[in-house]
Structures are given as C-alpha cells and as structure tokens.
C-alpha cells in the first residue's frame, strides 16, 4: 500500500499545486478544506504525512497539530506546517504545537519536495 499524504489548505489554487507535486511523486493524496475536515481525515485515513496550512477557518492548523499530538494513537503522523505568516511568533507557535517541520509560503517546490522525501524516508 502506498504512502498517504493529506493536504489541508483552504486556498484551492495552493491545493492544486501541492496535489500535483505529491501525485507526481507517487503518493496517495487526500485533500481537506478546513481544520475539522483535516482532523477527521487524519483519524480515518491515518496518513503518514500531513501538509497543514496554519491559517484555516474553523479549527486552525495549529489547533489540528495540537490535537494530533495529544492523541497517542496518531503518534506516527508527520506534520509539515505551511503558513503565510512569517513572523517569529508564528514559527514558535508551530513548533510549540508539535509540527515536525515548518515551511513559509511562498515555498520553493524543490525544497518542499526534498523536505517531504526526507520526512517520509
């Protein structure tokens, strides 16, 4: 069975690009449009990696991250936070929430892919 990657972002065009990248790499791609949907998908589908947007309506990416880390049964889930907010406090918040990596939008597709490969290795 292939590697499952969940893309959680409320910007459809960003989802388009991330989806293209992940599929090209041969991963199975799941998409969530907001925090609640994302958390639901993580619990149901158990993806190995989540590309998580920090700013989503409803449950934010940070909230989702914290919820996942609080759940022992989901401990294997890798989380890569993507955010358009680049302030230091936001980075600190992401790390504090328990993300494995933190990438600022806009990102380099190559760097992001490399990071994803490393995390799934």
């Amino acid at each position: 069975m292939g590697t499952k990657v969940l893309i959680a972002d409320d910007e459809p065009n960003i989802v388009v690009s991330l989806e293209f990248m992940m599929k090209r790499e041969g991963y199975e791609v799941l998409v969530a449009r907001d925090g609640n949907e994302a958390l639901e998908a993580i619990r149901r589908e158990r993806p190995q990696l989540v590309l998580l947007d920090g700013m989503m309506p409803g449950l934010s990416g940070f909230d989702v991250c914290e919820a996942v880390r609080a759940d022992q049964s989901l401990s294997g889930t890798r989380i890569l936070m993507l955010t358009a907010k680049g302030r230091e406090t936001d980075v600190a918040r992401g790390v504090g929430a328990g993300a494995d990596a933190y990438v600022i939008k806009p990102f380099s597709t190559r760097d992001l892919m490399q990071q994803v490969r490393d995390m799934l290795a």
Binding site: N13, I14, R24, K105, F107
Partner: protein, 927 residues
Amino acid sequence: MIAPSIVLAVSAGYLLLLFAVAAFGDRRAAQGRSVIGNAWIFALSWAVYCSAWTYFGSVGRAAAGGIWFLPIYLGPMLAMLLAWIVLRKMVRIAQTYRITSIADFIASRYGKSPLLAAAVTLITVVGIVPYIALQLKAVSAGYDLLVHGVEQGPEAAQPWWRNGTFAVTLVLAAFTIVFGTRHLDSAERHEGMVAAIAFESVVKLGAFLAVGIFVTWGIFAGPADIWARAQVFPELQSLMRLGGGEGTAAFGHAQWFATTILAMFSVLLLPRQFQMMVVECVDEHHIRRAAWMFSGYLLLINLFVLPLAIGGMVHFGPGGGMDPETFVLSLPLAEGATVLALVAYIGGMSAATGMLIVETVAVSTMVCNDFVMPSLLRLRGFDARAGGDLTELLLNIRRAAIIAVLLLGYLYYRIAGDAYALVSIGLISFAAVAQFAPALLGGIYWRGGTAAGALAGLLGGFAVWAYTLMLPSMAKSGWLPAAFLDPGPFGIELLAPEALPGLTGLDNLTHSLFWSLLVNVSLYVGISLWRGPGAREASQALLFVDVFEQGDDAAEPAPIFWRGRARLEDLVDLSNRLLGPLRARQMFEDYAAETGVADVEAITADARLVDRVERQLAGAVGSASARVMVASVVQEEPLGIADVIEILDEASQLRVYARALEEKSLSLEAATAELRAANEALQSLDHMKDDFMSSVTHELRTPLTSIRALTELMLDTPDMEAEQREKFLRIVVSESERMSRLVNQVLDMAKMESGHAEWHNADVDMRALISDAVTITAEVFRERGAVAVADLPAQVPLIRADPDRLTQVMLNLLTNAAKFVPKETGRAEVILRVRADDLVVTVRDNGPGIPEAQRAAVFERFRQVGDAATRPHGTGLGLPISRRIVEHSGGEMWVEAAPGGGACFAFRLPLGPGEGEGHGHQGADCR
C-alpha cells in the same frame, strides 16, 4: 414642704450621677471612643451659659421688667451668627498655640506679656467671684424654700459647718479637682467634665420646661388664660408690652442695645464660655452646627419665662411677698407638686453646678498660670534651671486654686448675703468681662494693637467699671455711704458714679458700659497707635491675625520668630520638669519622627524645636510663663522689628518656593499623564499597523504561493500535458490579477486613512450613477445566471460627492452580491429612496446572508466572513473601503438582514452640506 433628708439625698444622688457621667466620659476617652466628639454634645456644653442666674433670674427679670430678660439671650444668638467667623478663628489660634485660657489668649497675642495675663486674671477673679457666690446662693435659697415651704421665711442662719451650701461647695471642689485637673496639657481635653456639663444642660432644660408646662397648662389653662387673668392687675400691664421697662416711660433703646451687646460679648468672653467653646473644642467643624443648636437651646429655655413670671404674679398676687426669682420652685410647691418642685430644684442645681465647675476650672487655670507660676518662678529653687518634676506641683497649685476660688465665692456669699450687690451681679460680671472685648477682638483682627495699649485699655475700662458699677452696687448694699452715689464722692456732683458728665437719663448698666468701653477702646487704640508694636508684639500679631493663612502643614510652615542658640539637653530637662518625663519623651519622639531624625538625641536644637517646646509648655503653664521658662534656658538674640520683617520675608519666600514647587510637580504630573496617554495611543496605533502589515503580508503571500509553485512546477516539468499546463497558467493569471487588485486596494485604503486620497467632488445624480453601475455589472450576473434590477424614483436631487468613488462603492456592493447569490436563481435588487434630507441606497440579494453575529465584522479589513470553503474570493478590503467612501461623503453604511435570508447592504448620503448626522437608518428598503 419636703423633709431635709429627702432634699439632701436627692441632691447627693444627683451629684453622684454627675460623677458617674464624668467618669464614663473619661473612661471612654481613655479607650479612644470619645463621647464628646459631636456637635450635639459640643452645643450642649455651651449651654453652661445658662447658669442659676438664668434658671431663677430670668423669671425674676421678666417679673420686674417684662421682656427685659430677653437681651441676655438675644445677644448670644446674634453672636452665634458670627460664630463661624470669630469663634472659629479663636479656636484655630488657641489650638495652634496651645492656649488654655482667655488670659493666656490675650497675653499671648500681645507678645506673651505676663503683666497682661495677670491683669486679665485679676479682672476675671474680681468680676467672677460674686457671680460664683450668686450660684451658691441660688442653691442655698432653693434648699431653704423646699425645706421650709412657701409660707415661712428662712430660719436664722445656721453655723457654716452645718450649712448644706458649704457641703455642696466642697463636693463641687472635689468634682472639679477630679475631672478638671487630671492632666496638665491642653491637648488632652476634660472629656468627662464636658460630658457632665452637657448632661447638666439637658437636666436643667428638661426641668425648666417641665415646670413651664406644669404652670401654663396645670395651674392655668394655657398662655391665653394667664394673659387674660393678668388683665385684672394693672401693675402687670406694663410687663406685656414694649416700653415701660425698669420704670421708665419710653422704651429704652439704648439700654436694650447695651444689654444685647453685653450678652453678645459675654457669650464669647466669660471664662466658662471660653473654656467650653474654645479650649474643649474637639473639631472646629462642629462650630457651625453647634451655633444653631445653642441658639435653639436658648430659645427653648426662654419659652416659658414670661408665662412663669406673669403666672407667678397672678398666682401669688403682685407684691404678694413671694420673690419672683423663686417662682420656678414656689409655684409647684404652692400647688403641692412636691416631686416637680424637687425636679425643679435639681434643674436649678444643675444650672448652678455646671457654671461653678467650668468657671472654676477656667479661673483656676488662669490663677495658677498667670498669678502663682510667675511669682513661683522668681523664687530660688523653682527657676527653670532647677531640677525636679514640677507637674505634680503644678496640678496641686491648680487644685488649691480651685478650692480657693470656690471658697472665695462661698465667703462672698456668706458676707454679701441678700445684699443688692449679689442680686444684680450677673450683669455686673458680664460688664467686667466685656472689658476683654477690645483687646481680644482687636487682637485677632488688627495687627497694630500693642501690649501697652491692651493693658491700659483693660485697666482703664476696669477702673471705670469698678467706679460706675461695682462701687455703686456696694453703696446700694450699704457698705459705702449713700452720699457716694448722690450727690457724689466728697459731694462733687461731677463725679457721681452713675451720672458721669454729659450722660444722664441712662440706666446704670448702659451708662457704665458706655464709659468703660469708651475709655477701654480709646486707650487701647490710642496707645497702640502712639507707640507702635515691638518685635514680639508684631510677630505674635501676625501669627494671630493671619492664623488661617499659616497652616500647620509642612508645605507652608508658619514663620518662627526666634533666633539664638539652644542646647537639646536644656530643652529636654525643662520639658521633663513641666510636662513630666512621659509626655516630654513623647513630644521629642514625635518631633524626631516629623523631622525625619532617627532618634531623639540626634535632634537639632533649632528655632523650630524651641518653638515646638515653647508651645507645648504653653499648654501646661500658659504662654507667658512658658516664654519666661524657655528664655531662661536658651541663649536668645533679641529680635528687632527689622528681624521680624526679615523672618517673615524668609517664610513667605519659602512659601512661594513651596507653592511653585507644588505647581511644578502638578504640571509635571499632568505632562506625564499626557505623555503616557500619547504613548498608549501610539502603541495601540503601532499594534494596529503591525496587524495590518501582517494581514497584508498574508493576503499577498497566498496568491504568490500559488504563482510560484505552479510556475516552478511548469518549469521543472517540460513534458507537462498541454491541458494541465493551460489550467496552471489560468490560475497564475487569475492569482496575478488578485494580487494587483489587492495592491491597488491596499494603496487606496492607506491613502484614505492617511487623508492623502484625492477627492474630485461634483454634482452627482445618484439615479444615473446607479443605473450605470447596474449596467456595468450585468455581465457578472449573467455569467452566474443571475439578474440585478434597479428600483429608482423618477427624479432625485443632485448631491455633492466624488462620482468615481461612489461608483466604486456601487460596483463593490453589486459584485459582492453577484458572488454570493445562488446560481441560476440569483437576484440582486438596488433601491434608491429620497427622504427629507438624505438619499438611501439599498442593495439586497437572495444569497446566504450574513449571520447577525458577524454583521459588525464585515466592515473590518481582511475580515471575510462565512465558510472559507464555499466563500468566493475577495481581498477583504472592498467593504471597508466602501464604508470609508460613504463616511467621507457625510453618510453612513450598514448591513442588515433581508427577508428570505439574503444580505442587505445600505448606505445613506446627506442631501445638503452639514447634514447627515444623527439620522438613523430606519426605512431602508430591506423588506
């Protein structure tokens, strides 16, 4: 007739009760829960003014002269009108400089002159001792009447040791010693004594009213009945109208005026009044209320004077052998109301004892401080440098003085008996203390008064008083040959004491008051002007006259008129001797704490310390003696007038500095507050800017992310399918457009917020503008299969606004509606309405609408409400910008619910300039 044992038992019981009340007051004071700390008790203690002379004598005076008893009480009421001005000043001065008697007050004002203090004391003793005798006589006469009944005259005099009056005198001496000489210092008041006096005031008022009510409604059938029955006696006619007083045909205006003035002075100047009003004053704020209450008290106690007097005359018959002064007792007694008679007697006793106690405390303080102490200090072994604690000695002197004063009064009573001198002594005493008025009142309002002037005025006035009032009263008693009065001493008519040249036709009191005060004031003013004040007089004058300007607070210190050198040890020794080690220690410790010195040994013996010590000693031994004592232990530089002026200048300079400093610090505080507020505003602006920047960054990064990712992907994937590539490119284009739109709007917003936006106002026809906007957006609606319709009136007035901006607003609202309406069935409606003074534009749709909780947020920047997944794209700036434009045009914009759940945006624009505020948005066509 009442058995002597009962009268004695009740009297003894009453005096015991008095002891209990005083002991209670003192105990509460020791516990710090003062019972006298309120205006009621304070006012009641003033009523010590109403002595036995009031209690029995008012009726006597009324029986002899009708309303002529009234001026004695009108005067004090008039004085009370001035209490807040005059009395408050006296209290402030006395408490600031620890003045304990009226002799001390006058002496202190005129450079702390021991001579002046002695003169005032002498006048007081001479003037007051007969008055004390009168009180004793009242107690004794009352007793006789009760025991022997109305019919019999008093028996032959008993030996003095078996006389009840003597016993009363001794008991009162004991009371006064116990409660009047507990401690030396004036700061600790005689709380127990004040409480007892207030209690006595209640008793005498109650008793007098009880008798009045009994006589008026018990014996007679009300005041009208008394008046009616008095018509029978022609002798009583004159009592019931003005005029005819004291035998003269015409109304004695001069006499009325003189008696009123006299009583006005005496309520302030009698030693017992000074003691109660000034020395025992706990809080000067009580004066204002106490003045009214005291006036009320006087009114009450005079209510039944005329009914009693006339009723008594009617009852016993005019000239019926009964002395009108005993009506208060004899009327109930004659009617067989023995209990009431006993109550009346206790009332009279309370009036007498109250006066005796307070007067004795006041006079004994004066005698001790101003007679005995100065002589004692001259003796070897007692001077200031000698050792030993003098406090006990001082207290013993005071105790001895109390006994001496009371015994003197008793002696006078025994000797004078029923002589004329005693009967008229009340007013004669008043006239004696009235001599203090020029020196005292002049002293607190006129800086020019001098000790020599005051002394000359006092002695001159006193001499005239003695010659015109005292000696004639003795002559009338038969102690001087009658020829002394008529034709005059040595047969010289010009010297006739009651008819000094140029003034005949006046009664003896008015005559005496006129001459004595004339001499007094002339000498006081004349001599004061002839030789100006010396340094010490000038400095004390300043401290007294300007007492309210020289507050006690540290920021504005009163000037201290002292220069020289002192040693701390000498001052400590002196204080130990006169205050006792305990109080002295307390004083120095307080001073150390005030000046911020670590301990007593480190205090600098400067002018301020010397002044403090002298003031404290003044409380114990009087200011004149304190001055002598302090001067003897320190090395003083004699002060000249120039020094006084210099010190005053320094003090006022200091005060100017202090005030300037205070103003500076106040303005500094204000500036700090302003700065803090400005800083807070800046910080909040800064915060807002940060948030704005953060939002803008976020909004810019989002499309940028798509653009970068998709272009990179296309670059890295040369073999991408054409369809995929085209999809990507379309996204890149639309995201680029989104970015440019955002950049434009951010700039727009920033310009508008900073006020740099350009506005091109013109006459705008909103009707045309709206149809244009609907036309422009028709394509957008068509794409979604929706329609936009406009409902416009046939004609609208032109408004003054920027048409391009308003078009922007309309386009924003319409495209928003187009985005949100459902596909195929979407419908938006624009309605324009003209009201009295504004235009209202409404844009409503049949989209999902905006939940009420989020309505306020739609106008916030970058706030896009609703579900992000289903929400169309926007910058989050369209509505905030639209609202700004409308507000800039003088209108307002709001959102409400449309029927059927859609959104309804509306705005109004004023028709004329300057209008548009204060109109609600009722009537928008959302329904």
